[in-house]
Symmetry: C2
Subunit: 362 residues, 2 copies
Amino acid sequence: MENQQPTIKDIAKMAGVSIATVDRVLHNRGKVSKKNLDLISAAIETLSYKPNQIARALSSRKSNIKIGLVLPQVESDFWGEIIEGVQAAQAHLSPFGVELITEFSYSYDLDEQLKSINQVLKMNVNGLIMTPLYDGSSDIVDRCIPKEVPYATVIDDMPGSRRLFHIGPDDFAIGNLAARLTELYCRPRGNVVILSPNNSLIETQQRISGFVSKVKQEQLALNILQIIPIPGKTEKCMYQNIYITALECIKNGHNLDAFYVTNGLTQWCADAVVESGLVGKVKVIGHEYTSKLPQYLQSGAISAVIYQKPAMQFYKAINLLYEYIIGDQRSLNDNIITECNIIIKENISFVHNGGNSQYGYC
Amino acid sequence: MENQQPTIKDIAKMAGVSIATVDRVLHNRGKVSKKNLDLISAAIETLSYKPNQIARALSSRKSNIKIGLVLPQVESDFWGEIIEGVQAAQAHLSPFGVELITEFSYSYDLDEQLKSINQVLKMNVNGLIMTPLYDGSSDIVDRCIPKEVPYATVIDDMPGSRRLFHIGPDDFAIGNLAARLTELYCRPRGNVVILSPNNSLIETQQRISGFVSKVKQEQLALNILQIIPIPGKTEKCMYQNIYITALECIKNGHNLDAFYVTNGLTQWCADAVVESGLVGKVKVIGHEYTSKLPQYLQSGAISAVIYQKPAMQFYKAINLLYEYIIGDQRSLNDNIITECNIIIKENISFVHNGGNSQYGYC
DNA sequence: CTGAAAGCGCTTACAG
DNA sequence: CTGAAAGCGCTTACAG
């Protein structure tokens, strides 16, 4: 009926060789005479042959592909959600013989992460996906990972490193957006404090500068009172510190109208607002989907968050890295901007999050 | 190494039959003796066997599966975008031997759509996906499509019909959201006119009642001046009617602060605002991603839209219907609420639309 | 009602 | 440097 896709047989016939030889040039492994190479290449070209991925997957099921994942387990909602993306990817790719090997680290500590990387490398992974923790870490990480092992970064980038690609939000644009949301919820005008965990990360800095420059550029009726870095490497530490700091800000007066929290710790800042009985008076704008988000939006303790769908990012990263490893040479965009959603009280019921994505991953 | 997934061979061996017989019960086709049926079912159970989809796809490539699509081509941005979702699905499924057959109708006219349905049925499709045009059409459509052909609805539903499942937004919730967005952009308060194309659709009515009830329930500072149905079945008609109506509203005074447009014709309402030199003064809140949306958001002619990602909806619908047809009995949720995004000036750069989804479909 | 055999398109030893 | 053959897990006629 329709003209069938050409198969490896077709091009073998056309080039007058065996399919084994065609396979050799397809994977440029083994030696092939120049003459045959040319013949085969020409045939591939003229028939515009594309290897059938299904057949490939079925046939090479024995030779497992392993992809390593190095995941912090710190902000538990945020990273916990990611695990669901990883599981979805596992389910999607296991019929292709892909095995995912995950290592966790329990603090935002570079040494711990390097240990995880080495652990994963011991398992002879064919590729690696990670979220870098510090901006200076490019060289260290590059030295740690052998050149033969391609790796990708998700959420935070490591520019200047050998990473194959990066998936993550446009943090400057996100900062712009946060400023607008703050402005909308504070109208006619507002005094804002920015609380900044992971303050040393370049991504955090970009969000802040996006926020600040949006305010200036569009002369939003926002007055940025302070930008306060929140220290802490472990989960508990960070929760406590942001909560205490928010409480202090509230007590110090200054006619505070809003907090902007630069990452997923938003909920713990909102706790301070609730504790102070200022829900509705002091708005909280922040990031990510956390367990209490629905109820906090409902009560007004949080006005809006920007949601970067981290589970989806990992899901895509794993799929892309797999395609790269099996040699799908589709030109790879090396910096993929992830989609971010605004979540407010009125749409949280139909924003798909990591735990709600029965059909979220196609 | 790891315990391999059981194959059809394993369960044949365990039940003491041939793989052909196992295959028969897997697809409950052909007659199998009660004894063997029980034996095989037990084996499947105890080994918790899952057929390998890859192998299945490879082996059954000859027997093409055809899925029919019945698509209006009216609001061209909206429906044009959908075609990209269809193409993505085609690319994704063609290695599985799936062929998509698309028929277009060029007006919102039931008779024309029925013709398209019949056209597609003539091609012996194994399933069908459509967007119903009128609420009364359940019976007519049900009579038109043979019982053996499963079909699904996307975007608009046809409750009470035989459709297998529906994917679409929660229109009442969307109306709620639209009210909130209007309120945010009109603060401190605003006079709103609702313009309603496709007014007879139950989905449109739900958006409107969502909007109205949100205003009442939360006592939003919005005053709904009028709700005006916009007639028109063809593209040109609708564009002209909404533009003219919007112009009239503006001229009639009433201190208009905002339009809420209940569907993807938002852009043509904004044209009237631009024409009247009232950009910034009269806000427009609406729906969908259309070609001029980026520039209109930038200039302020449109303040915000709610984007239901129609291409993604079709992409998912096609995949789900395919899985159903090949007998993937995963329990099928028959009413899938699609994710909707808020798009405003500050986030349009990183919202993935149909035409921007290189990595949007996993 | 049941089974042996060929085949889907590719990969992988193995023998030359 | 090259090819014949077996195999991945399932489906599909075909013969009993």
